[in-house]
């Protein structure tokens, strides 16, 4: 005799089994405990989330400018009139786009510079700007001997927006012209970029760059400003050191976007050393009078004058 299923035991419950009524109650109790536990867990989770966000990134105070324009002025070496023109030019630009200006004086950093050339003041000045504007995101350093000629362009739309930067970045290009074996990374993404900079015919150009606030900026500026570099007598001081650290230290190169010179760094026709297509053309964002302060035959004030008038005239017409 075969059975499909083994015969069941007698369905009669043993005498010691608890009544169904009791198990119903027990079930209710268990359910209540479960619900209570779940509720407690939820509360803990919510509380932890709440505390996590409250200790997270500090809130940016209202009215913080996203971009700070850093200009290092040498008030001792140039006439007040000339300095005022530069200041006006920057202030107009900042007002249009809601940026903030940070005007630094070379004399403020004399103790840090020691005997090094004055041009080094750029580095502590940008660090100083970051310390005094801790919530701003971008710091645009523009050399004093230059004018913003097309103030309608905001930095975001002109350079910093992700898609724009992606299209501007030059990848796999010799970082220091003409033929450095170190080339910009070809896999660099726009969101990893902390430093936007250009190069001219010979070197990197510290006269105009955009640096994002953060750990990288501190590292980059402090490393650039090391006393052993200051005292090394590089022919072009901070410019050559920049060339050096960019080529020797991949952690800097990995955060650097090289953009065409005329985007943020057009040279006037009197300045030597512009890259191919690096000379100012009408409509460019900025014009720089590179070397007008060091070359004794040139005069910054004279060179600036016609462009300043051009800019002031445009301003009136608007």
């Amino acid at each position: 005799m075969q059975f499909a299923l083994p015969p069941r035991r007698t369905p009669i419950a043993p005498p010691y089994a608890r009544s169904s009524r009791f198990s119903l109650q027990r079930r209710k109790q268990l359910k209540a405990v479960a619900i209570l536990g779940l509720a407690l867990l939820t509360v803990f989770f919510l509380l932890s989330q709440l505390f996590y966000t409250s200790t997270g990134t500090p809130a940016v105070p209202a009215g913080t400018a996203s971009v700070v324009i850093v200009t290092v002025l040498d008030r001792a070496g140039f006439s007040d009139d000339y300095i005022q023109k530069i200041v006006k030019n920057r202030e107009d630009y900042a007002k249009r786009h809601g940026y903030t200006n940070f005007f630094a004086n070379v004399s403020d950093y004399e103790t840090a510079l020691d005997d090094a050339p004055k041009s080094w003041a750029v580095v502590p000045a940008v660090r100083h700007a970051m310390a005094s504007h801790p919530y701003s995101k971008y710091f645009f350093h523009l050399d004093a001997h230059s004018l913003i000629m097309n103030p309608g362009k905001s930095l975001e739309s002109h350079v910093l927006e992700k898609s724009r930067l992606e299209s501007l970045m030059q990848k796999d290009v010799s970082i220091v012209p003409p033929d450095s074996i170190i080339k910009t990374f070809s896999h660099l993404q726009a969101e990893d970029v902390d430093l936007v900079i250009t190069n001219d015919e010979e070197d990197m150009c510290p006269g105009s760059f955009i640096l994002r606030q953060g750990d990288f900026a501190k590292y980059f500026l402090d490393f650039w400003f090391d006393p052993l570099y200051l005292s090394y007598n590089f022919a072009k001081a901070e410019t050559h050191v920049l060339d050096h650290i960019v080529q020797w230290h991949p952690t800097i190169l990995a955060r650097l976007a090289l953009v065409p010179q005329r985007i943020i760094n057009s040279y006037s026709k009197d300045s030597s050393g512009a890259a191919v297509d690096g000379v100012y053309k009408d409509g460019d964002f900025v014009i720089r009078f590179l070397g007008c302060d060091t070359d004794t035959k040139r005069s910054c004030e004279k060179e600036l004058e016609p462009y300043y008038r051009l800019w002031a005239g445009k301003l009136k017409n608007e």
């Binding site: 075969q2 059975f3 499909a4 299923l5 083994p6 005498p15 010691y16 608890r18 009544s19 009524r21 009791f22 109650q25 027990r26 209710k28 109790q29 209540a32 405990v33 403020d108 950093y109 840090a112 502590p124 000045a125 660090r127 100083h128 970051m130 310390a131 801790p134 750990d215 990288f216 501190k218 590292y219 500026l221 402090d222 490393f223 090391d226 006393p227 052993l228 570099y229 005292s231 090394y232 050096h244 650290i245 020797w248 230290h249 991949p250 952690t251």
Partner: protein
């Protein structure tokens, strides 16, 4: 062939293909059954039939599994022993139904005395067997189970990698003698033994002299490259512990988590003025720096420490230090060696990468916030003879305080590396005897007191001449 139910029709066999019922249905056999009485082979089972059968076995509704699991068997018993809650659901208005309350416990007396006792007895003996098995399992496999757990992602051991230098200046530059080999063998064993217990990884790196690290190149900077390489090799690890070869982990029972990382904020100091043999001026005072860079304690948050080291009497000591995988560490390792700095300083930097690190710390404010200092004896006790001959409790190994690690720093300059290591190895073994060994030693002591005369020749012979 006993089947509990008739087999299902199988599509391949186009009919009832159960071997027991219809041996060789016509559809699947082109031959006549006359010449080959059993065309399906010796066993008489077609593949289709066998498959159907095995399917059946697999899907067989086996004899009720309702009571076979441990939990289902003892669920009722377990729940009966649970504490009981009354959450007011059963008794509105605080009324307690006397009949209902505790009803399950009011079992007939007969059960309690008769049936229950045998049941209990049977269960108790089962429980005893299970307990014995558990004990045996623990005795034989307990250690390896714990080690495997610590090595697993849950245990947290994977977060740590020990980098041990070896083969210093080896190769053709310097032949290693028996003592050098003994130092190396023992030191590697020591780190492996420690790491195995806690589930850490050990990476023994080769410091073989290479041209690209020789003078005028980048002497002694292989350390930096080796750390980078190890970081690439262990992508899961967080902390990397560099150890010189001449070190001995004295206490195997200290885990890095408990000894250091779970209480970093209590034991580290960020303000170097607490112990400052190099007289580095701290904090930086330049006005252009941000607040964190100018504060003596950085941001004061222990989780922002990425380099953990100790100072000895001469400044930073890189014989035993921790570095954490991070962008900051990448940057430090990258900036540690620079040709322009090296060119100007290599005559001064006697301790090479150690001096370079001190230099970076002193001159570049971005470094300081991520550096934490441990009092030396947490990770780097010195033997007497290094940093002064008299016993200095801030520097030297203290026997009664069970220091974690001894670094025989500088033993290669006029001291005896192997002698010191041997001495500390034996001392560590003595301190970490099990109770069984302690008892044996005590008995030995008693024995020797009664039967003196046997010299301790063996021990001396063990020391390599």
């Amino acid at each position: 062939m006993s089947l509990s139910r008739s087999p299902s029709p199988h599509p391949a066999g186009a009919g009832w293909s159960s071997p027991g019922l219809t041996p060789g249905s016509g559809a699947s056999t082109p031959h006549s059954g006359f010449l080959t009485p059993n065309p399906l082979g010796a066993s008489g089972i077609s593949w289709a039939a066998a498959k159907a059968k095995s399917d059946e076995v697999r899907g067989y509704p086996s004899f009720s599994t309702r009571n076979s699991g441990f939990f289902s068997r003892s669920r009722r018993q377990l729940s009966a022993t649970l504490p009981r809650f009354r959450l007011g659901s059963g008794s509105p208005n605080g009324y307690v139904d006397k009949d209902e309350f505790g009803r399950g416990r009011q079992a007939p007396a007969g059960w309690r005395l008769g049936l229950g006792r045998t049941l209990l007895r049977r269960r108790r003996s089962r429980l005893l067997v299970v307990l014995i098995f558990c004990l045996l399992g623990y005795l034989f496999f307990g250690a390896s189970i714990i080690q495997n757990y610590r090595r697993s992602p849950l245990g947290g051991g994977r977060k740590f990698v020990i980098i041990l230098e070896s083969n210093i200046e080896g190769g053709v530059m310097e032949w290693k003698g028996a003592r050098e080999w003994a130092v190396e063998r023992n030191s590697v064993w020591n780190k492996n033994h420690y790491a195995e217990q806690w589930g850490y990884e050990v990476e023994v790196v080769n410091m073989l002299a290479k041209k690209r690290y020789s003078h005028e190149w980048r002497e002694s900077w292989e350390k930096v490259d080796l750390i980078r390489e190890t970081m690439r090799k262990h992508p899961d690890a967080e902390w990397f512990w560099w150890l010189d070869l001449n070190t001995w982990i004295m206490e195997y029972s200290y885990s890095l988590q408990e000894h250091l990382f779970n209480r970093l904020d209590e034991i580290i100091y960020r303000d170097i003025n607490a112990y400052n043999p190099l007289n580095i001026s701290h904090p930086p005072t330049d006005e252009y720096l941000d607040e964190v860079s100018r504060s003596p304690n950085g941001d004061g948050d222990a989780s922002s420490v990425h380099l953990l080291l100790s100072q000895d009497c001469g400044g930073f000591n890189l014989g035993s230090f921790f570095i954490r995988r991070s962008l900051w560490s990448d940057r430090l390792l990258d900036s540690w060696w620079d040709p322009v700095m090296y060119e100007q300083k290599h005559m001064e930097w006697e301790h090479k990468e150690q001096d370079a690190l001190e230099y970076l710390y002193a001159t570049q404010p971005w470094v300081r916030n991520q550096v934490g200092f441990l009092p030396q004896r947490y990770i780097n006790s010195f033997p007497q003879g290094a940093c002064g001959d008299e016993n200095d409790p801030t520097v030297h190994y203290q026997e009664d305080e069970r220091d974690f690690l001894v670094n025989m720093a500088g033993c290669q300059f006029g001291r005896d590396c192997w002698g010191e290591m041997y001495q500390y190895r034996e001392y560590s073994n003595l301190l970490n005897r099990t109770w069984w060994e302690r008892m044996k030693d005590k008995l030995n002591g008693v024995y020797e007191r009664f039967f003196p005369g046997e010299e301790k020749v063996e021990e001396e012979e063990q020391q390599i001449q």
